[in-house]
Symmetry: C2
């Protein structure tokens, strides 16, 4: 059978990785797919650079700067979008769909923000949009969630889905350095970009967990409803105190089915150190999915990089190659649920989520201070699970010594905790703002 023809938009890390993997493993892939898969056209900004990356073996592949011509080319069967961003990528993806072409993309921002529009257009036109590479690189988490766990009512998903921040958190813990130092190191080693905002402020993780929430719960992708907190304000002292209490701090993307709606949030989170996911170090990714039948399952691997991402892109290409001639009813719905069976369960505002909390307070080292704090919490039905009072390490302000108190609470609604914190901060004996971090038992 003739090879299926791929048009590649972009030839950066992911684009070149995809080309390289398809080339190197072409025989193996053909033995599986039953058909060759071949890059036959490329559109890029920098033609000369792409030519260099293609080398002699790819010298016959046409490369130009005209993305529109590529998605209009009747000889292209599947368009692989590796441009990134939500501008030209969105236009070309929608145009490819209108042309009846199947699309494979690694673009989480595009899908988290414009997924509704894109999947709707694809369903109308009867084409596939595949995006395994958009979450956790080469880890086949989209397929696991969408197909492997399809029997389950999913309870929650919690994942380390941004390698940059996990690398930074790992080095803050291992080497006891502060955030700025760890970030600079990550940049030097190529784990963080020159402008690291999207990673360190949690935006990238929020894109990914938004996509997963839609697949898990059968709701539309709603990035604008996600609560997004990064790690740039994280103090290394909290990493140390968490450790003393038996926890690790990870930037988690969390999607949970709660009673009144769905929680969708990204923030630094304390996890018991003994959990497998707490031990995921460096730039690695891992996602825990809890389903009512299967219990907790975990998926781990490289979340970024040329070839891990290409692994996911090519897996999608094989899926599309198999099913592009099939009745669309035989295909798995883009977001796991039939498009006419989505749920309007709301995404809860962050005030309405339920969590247990880690609180760190700087207090005057005088008697009665703890009693006042615990009374405020007790009045709001917030019970304390653990307490750590640090010896006043010669900290003294205006001649009075001060000390750190760390509290771990049981679960409560966030707005209740926030109200308690306002009261606590109003106490004379409490100095400055209370540091609040959320916790997950991952049970």
């Amino acid at each position: 059978m003739e090879s299926i023809k791929i048009g590649l938009l972009g030839f950066g890390t992911v684009g070149k990785g995809t080309y390289d993997v398809l080339k190197r493993n072409q025989e193996e892939i053909k033995r599986r797919a039953g058909r060759g898969i071949e890059v036959t056209r490329i559109a890029v900004r920098d033609v000369a650079k792409a030519r260099g990356g293609l080398g002699d073996t790819g010298a016959s592949i046409p490369v130009d700067t005209d993305g529109a011509a590529l998605v209009d080319d009747p000889a292209v069967d599947i368009v692989v979008e590796t441009i990134g961003g939500t501008g030209i990528a969105r236009e070309l993806v929608l145009r490819a769909i209108r042309n009846g072409k199947h699309v494979v993309t690694a673009n989480k921002a595009l899908l988290a923000v414009h997924g509704g529009e894109i999947f709707e257009a694809a369903s109308q036109r009867g084409v596939m949009v595949a995006f395994e590479a958009a979450v956790a690189g080469g880890v086949p988490i989209i397929k696991a969630l969408r197909e492997g766990l399809t029997a389950n009512r999913i309870g929650w998903i919690a994942g380390i889905i941004n390698g940059t921040t996990n690398f930074i958190l790992s080095s803050m813990r291992d080497r006891g350095v502060d955030f700025a130092t760890a970030l600079a190191d990550a940049q030097r080693l190529g784990y963080a970009e020159a402008d690291p905002t999207f990673d360190i402020e949690g935006v990238d993780a929020a894109h990914k967990v938004t996509i997963m929430s839609a697949i898990a719960f059968g709701v539309p992708v709603q990035f604008d409803r996600a609560h997004v907190e990064g790690i740039s304000k994280l103090d290394s002292i909290d990493i140390r105190y968490a450790e003393e209490l038996g926890y690790r701090i990870k930037l988690l993307g969390i999607a949970r089915r709660a009673q009144k709606g769905i929680e969708l949030r990204v923030h630094p989170t304390l996890i018991p150190s003994k959990r497998l996911i707490a031990n995921v170090e460096g730039a690695m990714n891992a996602i825990v999915v809890q389903g009512d039948a299967v219990g907790s399952t975990l998926y781990y691997g490289k979340g970024a990089g040329a070839e891990p991402t290409a692994s996911a892109v090519v897996a999608d290409l094989v899926d599309v190659t198999r099913l592009h001639t099939a009745d669309p009813n035989n295909r798995v719905p883009h977001l796991a649920f039939q498009p006419d069976r989505l749920s309007d369960t709301p995404i809860l505002p962050i005030d309405e989520i339920t969590s247990s909390y880690y609180l760190r307070l700087r207090v005057a080292d005088v008697t009665g201070v703890l009693a006042n704090i615990t009374r405020i919490l007790a009045d709001r039905d917030i019970s304390i699970d653990a307490l750590l009072q640090k010896e006043s390490e010669d900290v003294s302000v205006d001649g009075r010594s001060e000390t750190d108190i760390v509290l771990v609470t049981h679960e409560t609604i966030e707005k209740n905790m926030n109200a308690a914190i306002v009261q606590i901060e109003a106490l004379d004996t409490v100095k400055g703002a209370v540091t609040k971090l959320r916790m997950e038992s991952m049970n």
Copy 2:
């Protein structure tokens, strides 16, 4: 659309679990599959017991003892085989296939031993045989290997794929008890069967890794070529010494692409303690898959139990529901590779595998003993990576004191190591047999 009709063979743990999950999550599953999935007929040995398990809500489902009539019933679309074993299960599965029915099974023994015959018959008849539940319960490892990692040339797979033995090994380590005690505890707690042979001797794990090897490397299922060693002879002192050296002992199922063929083996294995998989405790399962593009990925979850297994069976049912009307060319091949593109790469005999080794020797506590041993190893190009000499703990035989020496070697071919061990055991100063365990760096 009308519901798809399931005939259930057997109503034990897996059969009842499947029924329960389909019933409880019927709405959720229908929202995904686009179609209801319903158990409409059951064949069991003990009708009264099944009736009890079905309760009032399932009172209208016909139950009898006639498996043949079920697989012949034109009203049944998919047969779910949960009988187990290779006798009647094989007959009924083959008969169902001949009748043009799709089959879902959790039966690893059947597929590891008779997979060739069954998949051949299914391909001829154009029906699907799905078996996600056969390996690692609810963890969607078959789908990950077969579809999610399809871009990769797989290097190796290594997995904790038997919960009973992992539970026993965990308690031997945690509580310092010997194998017999840990086994008795596991039996008391329901983690081991009254006759635990299949689990503790590694047969169950070998069935599972045999199936995975076929999917990973595109070779036929060849259970008879697997090297199978269990944990019943494992001495708890080796667990302790391994710990001191920074390793955990796990029963691994390993399939590796080597230069001259494929390694297919199950045996207790030392793994560096810091690896994620080394920290998989209790009855949990985890599999690491290494692919050339994706690197190492890990999949973790419950490997047994009614609902975790049912989770996998129902996922298969949804897959089959989607694709049963499709052109067989649109389906994923049973064993990932097109049946006419299998490879005849041989499974290597255990003598030909490459591994690093842990050796424990009891030696006379006299000078020169170590020199003799290391010379034998050096002569065979086996280099030593670590050495542990235990103080002679008042061990004395015939008035002479003895001591344990533990060696960790670099990689060599097994037959070379075995020959060295024969020489070492012939030394006067070495008392009794050398204990040999294989190691995996899991890199």
